[in-house]
Symmetry: C2
Subunit: 448 residues, 2 copies
């Protein structure tokens, strides 16, 4: 027995199967799998398949597609069919589609929609895209507290909600103010004559429409909900955020953080074009060139010393490299801690002192080790002392900078992942060379 249809089988069915064969199975096929097939085949076959599947499914396939590609799927159809497809899409899905279009295309689509739904979409487009309002759907089930379980079930059978909005029913008063929540499970396991007010949870955890999507995601992580209601200042219910959108938010936000920490554009794609990659990375390389020149300028101040004790040049990569590594370590922990909400301005002081302690401890360990190596390599104990001392100083500076830089950026409301690495490595390069070559200059008489 085979549970899942594989992609080749699905492709054959959609392209060459009878219409009857398709109709029989199509309800059981996930739109994401159909989209996979469409991505693999020629344009002419894409159109063939799109015309063999029902309108509700086309709407779902469009919803699965990347925002920038959605429109290309839709325009394969006549005006009338486009209208039907749009009817099957929820307001937030249409808002996502419009987000990537120019004004003329947007207007054409809005004109093709019933007035009331077009208003919903326009309203959604007023929220910033990375807030609760920007990711919410306006399709949700709201009921009144004096309804019975039986009335609720009848109502559900009438409106036949889509899957993602059916699992929690929100109880609102006559002013649309949120009063409580009942889960579908609760409805199903309660006797028919139960009044909603007896089973509702009135301590509803909700989010305001301008809450940042990352904070919304933290709430989902904390509470494990499937959907969460979005409210305005008057506590009126505006929509719901669903957990599958939150998974996308989490993925995008962490990709952004990882990219920024690595000095590449936040939205660069591994399978993008050469030009996109160059545009995403070259600006950062030039920023780094500038900061590297600061390090060079520091070294150039000590050219006299280096020309007398050339082994200093040999050990330069070690001092700067180790400082950079120690700084990156602290930076990594701090940026991730901020993103997860585990580090905040309340516990920052305690963690700061810990980081200085880590810098000193690791600096001492590495410093003693490198001072022995340096002493033996050069044959001069004082050289060992110089590089060991420089290492301890630089690694302590590194952890301090690795901590203070991202927290300062956070305080200034700049993404701490964005520019931290540049500042931290500049600090460790410049000060690392300064400590090492400066100490060498002080003790030059013992090094020649």
């Amino acid at each position: 027995m085979k549970l899942e249809m594989d992609r080749e089988e699905l492709k054959r069915l959609l392209l060459y199967g009878s219409q009857k064969g398709i109709d029989e199975i199509i309800e059981d096929i996930h739109p994401a799998d159909i989209l996979d097939v469409l991505h693999e085949i020629e344009a002419v076959d894409v159109i063939k398949i799109l015309h063999r599947i029902p309108e509700w499914l086309i709407a779902e396939v469009i919803d699965e597609e990347d925002d920038e590609e959605k429109y290309a799927l839709l325009v394969n159809f006549s005006e009338k069919k486009q209208k039907n497809i749009l009817k099957e899409m929820s307001s937030d899905e249409i808002a996502d589609l419009l987000g990537s279009l120019d004004e003329i295309e947007s207007k054409r689509i809005l004109d093709n929609m019933p007035v009331e739904e077009a208003e919903d979409v326009k309203q959604l487009l007023t929220y910033a895209p990375d807030t609760a309002g920007g990711i919410m759907a306006t399709e949700y089930i709201s009921i009144k507290e004096n309804m019975t379980v039986k009335e609720t079930l009848k109502y559900l059978q009438k409106v036949a909600p889509n899957a993602e909005s059916a699992y929690y029913l929100y109880v609102v008063d006559e002013d649309e103010k949120l009063k409580g929540v009942v889960s579908l499970r609760e409805i199903v396991v309660s006797p028919f004559d139960t009044i909603i007010i007896d089973v509702l949870n009135s301590n509803v955890i909700s989010v305001h429409h301008d809450m940042d999507q990352e904070e919304v995601a933290h709430r989902f992580e904390k509470y494990g909900f499937l959907t969460m209601p979005v409210i305005n200042d008057e506590k009126q219910m505006l929509g719901i955020v669903t957990v599958d959108d939150i998974i996308d938010v989490l993925r995008d936000e962490t990709t952004e953080d990882i990219h920024r920490l690595g000095g590449v554009g936040e939205s660069e794609k591994v399978n993008g074009t050469l030009f996109e990659s160059v545009r995403s990375r070259l600006p950062w390389l030039f920023v780094n060139l500038l900061t590297a020149m600061l390090a060079s300028a520091t070294v150039s101040m000590f050219e006299g010393t280096i020309s007398k004790v050339v082994i200093l040049a040999t050990f330069m990569p070690i001092v700067a490299g180790m400082g950079g590594n120690a700084g990156t370590q602290t930076l990594t922990i701090v940026v991730r801690g901020l993103a997860l909400g585990e580090l905040n301005f309340e516990n920052a002081k305690k963690i700061f002192f810990k980081e200085i302690g880590v810098g000193l401890t690791n600096g001492l360990s590495v410093g003693i080790c490198i001072s022995i190596i340096g002493g033996l390599w050069s044959g001069k104990p004082v050289f060992g002392l110089v590089i060991g001392l420089a290492m301890i100083l630089n690694m302590t500076v590194a952890t301090t900078a690795g901590f203070l830089v991202p927290l300062t950026l956070k305080k200034l409301k700049i993404d701490p992942a964005l520019a931290s690495a540049v500042f931290v490595t500049t600090a460790t390069d410049v000060l690392g060379f300064f400590f090492f070559l400066g100490l060498a200059t002080v003790f030059i008489q013992y090094l020649i």
Copy 2:
């Protein structure tokens, strides 16, 4: 009107409110909020609160707590009460609890459980923790295809499933083999006399119990499900994975990647102890010390050249630093692309040539720029040529290494995030210095 109770209010209620007051509201309080209160107060108050809330809620609070801390909550109670609390916990929650205990403690807990449930837990403990089997719950609703909607609803009222397992009902045959799935929503909107076989989806997307949890997470991302069934080789249903566990998986896996890219232990906590931080980071610093010494050894080969042209020391940080940055950029894109499944062995070749192109393009841009700066700074055009050429070579090597190293590790089934950075920066340091100082040695007569 206030929707949510704030933490101070909740703390006061739990500590000083009447038992009646607590009982009235307690069903509406989320266990995560109670855990927040427990984390803020003294041990004696923790015990006081734990004895004022019902056993089912204690079980939920324990489930919210970090695995290593769960046991400390449980042992506050008498043997008998512990037994009752364990009864309220699902098998996967108990398995999580046991995961952090020694053998004697584990045995004591298993002995305190009904034999059948203890067997379930023992079975769960046999799956690797980072597989579908390791994160699944064995509590799920299974029905037969010849049941009616009404019978199904009655069955649900009888078993009163917990919220997370109720949203999909899995249809199995007499051998427990998975045959299809029906959503609770479908049950609710269908007439009572509908036979399950008429509404079930037989194209069930399932996961095998030994599938890596990261791959399971990709399936959730792709399909947007709330739960997914876990099966064995015989297609028998073993359990379900729920989306809230997947959110935890995604968070932990990305934290692991970010930490590994930054050279810190995968499970270091920003609010951990100094000792934990040192233990997490010092090994990596010593690995880096070894690789930095390779770079130093390369430089030391050219001490003769540097002593004659000391400006080479000044420009050393630029060549190595820029190569390191370019390598880190490619590495970041590649590691994240592998984690998201956007880069695989199928499209790797195409992306490889793009990366070499990016290296050459960025290398040329930065190389021309630095060659002008170097020429002006030193007053010697050949010096500009040397550093410019070294830059182009090193940045091309950097993107090549940044691409090949993580892909090779992936092929060897080692986490590409783990050791890539060390290899890549070693390559860019050693080769960067070799190109720069080597070229300078070749052209030495024009540089003096």
